[in-house]
Amino acid sequence: MKGSNKLEELVILSGKGGTGKTTLTSAFAALSDSLVLADCDVDAADLHLILNPTIVKREPFVEGNEAIVDPKLCTGCGYSANFCRFDAFRKEDDGTYSIDTIRCEGCGVCVRLCPASAIKFEERHCGHWMVSKTRFGTLVHAHLQAAGENSGKLVTLVRKEARKIALEEGKKLLLVDGPPGIGCPVISSVTGADKVVLVTEPSLSGLHDLERVSRLAANFEIPVYVCVNKADIAPKLTKEIEKSVKESDNKFVGTIPYDEALVQAQIKGLSPMEYLSAAGRNHIEKLWENIWETN
């Protein structure tokens, strides 16, 4: 980032949730003076709890379709139901059928097959996305409706909007709080990004998930920077992670000790950089510097 004028996009991932991804995002946000933030953990977005955003724009998010039976037209023949691969049809007491919107994937097979043309294909409202002002910079975030489909399109949209704003505002950094896992939403959040920071913790599951996310990032040929949170919970494992990262193409950027002050900061709605002692802040500052220096 330093010295260059190009917009850099850095995505923070963790594989497994709960390793401190969002906390670290909010810390990095406080360390950068020229950024736009994107919360791509649209399934369970938490960044706003720290950033206390003022929403300036709010747009609905529509994705795909859902099939809906008109009970007045349904003759109860059950023909389409036989072809649904997602087990979404339910027989009602009156002999008509209904479609479980949660199960419906919106493929449209039944709509086309229904002999009575009783199935409508309607736009699916999946949630909304927002642009907000925060004390660290503009934030683009979203809310996916409960039980909505997270195909990654909302994640892509949030990133795209955030990038647009970052370019307009002439910012140097787009900081993305990524989703957990390795499926669609994660793939959508790393495609085309410049750097991935993986926050893990020293546990067997942390190690296992780290390995899976780094394989995914490797598919995209994005440089990966690994840090270990709560490192002193299992110092031996931390060493192991450090060693295995150093043997891989990824870069090891440091550790953060277990610190309940991080939870206190969260309760107060503050970034760790606004709450921790100088010693606590120092660990995070070092990580941040290492990410930019290992170029």
Binding site: G17, D46, L49, E105, A147, G181, I182, L216, K230, E260
Partner: protein, 288 residues
Amino acid sequence: MKIAIASGKGGTGKTFFSVNLAHSLDRELLLLDCDVEEPNVNLFLKGELVEQRDSTLLVPQVDLDLCDGCRVCADFCQFNAIAVIRGVPLIFEDLCHGCGGCTLFCPQKAMDDTPHKIGVISHYHKGKISLIEGRLDVGKALAVPVIRDVKGDKEVAKHPLVILDAPPGTSCPVVWSLSGCDLAILVTEGTPFGLHDLKLAVETVREVGIPFGVVVNRDGLGDERVVTYCQEENIPVVGKIPNDREIATLYAQGKIVVDELPHYRALFTQIWENIASLAKGGRYERVQ
């Protein structure tokens, strides 16, 4: 009885809770690892692999001898998984949801459904516990078909007690994991992130429409807002597990806490009784 262990946010101790609950019960049961993006149950169970098969999705294949390039398939596909370029359909397997529509509607009958591997289903066994794990292949996008495969395994119906480790979040994969279960237990922690994600998880379970209770993990960390919220919403708190560094250390090493620390076995037994009476729709002593 089928009980799903879920959480809005990852890392609250969902897998820790499922595995330790299973171990504390000392009876025949089946665990389902539906967190197919990051399946971790067997890291703790350390069961013996007894069976493995591919998890597949039926995706179309074109017989170019029959295809006349009419584009019916590409026009139909809602997921843009087919593009007809210079008269030849190209199929993007990773976008395909396996709906079967293109095969069904191709006027030339040029399409055929063929299994496409997206993950692996493994059966493990240890003592009285059986485990079916779904594992999405790295680079594959769709978790739901693998979850369907785990839940649809023929073993599932044979077990009177099934404990399902659901994926984190609130979207489709969670919903597919929860639906058909008798009860959900939401594992959370007393932090602002924990509370916020719990609220989202509650919305999701209510959407699915199954009864549920809450377990507060790392109790003592954070504040009381989660418990207050549960009281206000009339959500039963079936258990609280203290914030104990010893648990974190054992867990980090992949150890089963109820085997190492007997007083936690007693706690899990108590929580199980609460869950069982919640499942029966009965009353139980509220956890203090």
